[in-house]
Symmetry: C2
Subunit: 220 residues, 2 copies
């Protein structure tokens, strides 16, 4: 009888590659892993963030999508290094894909590496990509009950961004209820409500990034 090899636990293997990513990157590079439902506004958040901070910090971006380079094309217009990972149907990014993408980027002197995960509030949560922080973006249009219904992502987040605040007057959704739902699931998580369209609340997000970069540098 043939010997059947035992496949190492997928998550354990992913974790070991995530640690390799941490060793590969400069200890001064802040790595953010952006998670959300499809269409919550991750790419727009990245665009606005780079536009606001590009004279202050050096960015690089890894875009994860099932298919297409639509998001990478948008980000590349801001003249930052960007690599697209197509998962060919895969529902989340894995560390080995990010590791391969890093070889395509000039990583020296990058202050902030942003990884935009596949739009999916469930599967990406379990896969460490070598990040310093998971950023969960939830759009106000998705309703005020999503933290209760998809707790895994919200528990894993180091910061939670509530996007599309400009639409509040037109939605049957309560910002206070959404904040209360987040507080139930992850009581001490910083929560930043903003609109990428109007810019309201955006300064708090930029300050969060600046502070995260400072904290990272202080550890070196």
């Amino acid at each position: 009888m043939k010997r059947i090899p035992i496949v190492t636990n997928v998550l354990e293997y992913n974790q070991s590659v995530a640690q390799e990513i941490r060793r590969t990157l400069s200890s001064r590079t802040l790595v953010l892993n952006l998670l959300s439902s499809p269409g919550a506004g991750k790419t727009t958040l990245i665009e606005r963030t780079i536009a606001a901070l590009k004279d202050e910090l050096r960015f690089a971006v890894v875009e994860g999508d099932l298919t297409t380079t639509l998001d990478a094309d948008r980000v590349a217009a801001y003249e930052v290094p960007v690599v697209q990972i197509n998962t060919a149907g895969g529902c989340h990014l894995e560390a080995r894909q990010v590791m391969a993408a890093l070889s395509q980027l000039a990583l020296k002197d990058v202050d902030v590496l942003i990884i935009e995960n596949v739009g999916n509030l469930v599967c990406p949560t379990a896969f460490d990509l070598g990040e310093d922080a998971k950023v969960v973006v939830t759009s106000l249009t998705e309703g005020d009950d999503k933290p209760l219904k998809y707790p895994g992502a919200f528990v894993a987040a180091q910061v939670i961004v509530i996007n599309k605040l400009d639409l509040a007057p037109y939605l049957p959704v309560s910002l206070a209820k959404l904040r209360a739902a987040i507080a139930t699931i992850h009581p001490h998580a910083p929560v930043i409500a903003l609109s990428c369209t109007t810019g309201v609340g955006f300064d708090a997000w930029l300050d969060w990034i600046r502070e995260a970069v400072r904290t990272k540098h202080a550890k070196v």
Copy 2:
């Protein structure tokens, strides 16, 4: 050396249970499998549909969520039989879960069984739940590029509902571009644009259901 059992292909097993569901249900029961991103409005669509058609058709609902009974509680208020499946973190419903749920429902004389899948535009696509039609709900707030970025769900759909049409004036999103993106991915799919909030476009959706019920009955 111990013999290691070979696990049957997950999708093949799921397919066999889906066929069992088809044999279990009355051949007169239309089964719809609702797929979307979190917060696209599946539950609200179900609520409005039942409110509009409950004197005409008999409904039953299976709710799929990672956790909580929030959606099932909302639907139960319309006095239709409803069962909640909690996937305990699982990113999609599988036929075996639906089969187990059916034993909790009085299925005799149900005209339309609606299965609300976990909010996820990727993973549920591959899992047949014994449905007659996959209904993909996409909210205008998610942007006009989602069919291109998440083609699997749109290809698999028998009908595509564009929801939250009432928000069009406030969004940097083009309904024409969204329709064009759908046409690229699935040229002949029926597309119904509507708002569950204002009711605009809703009659076309109700007519689609009535016609699907008639078609199902005609096959008996």
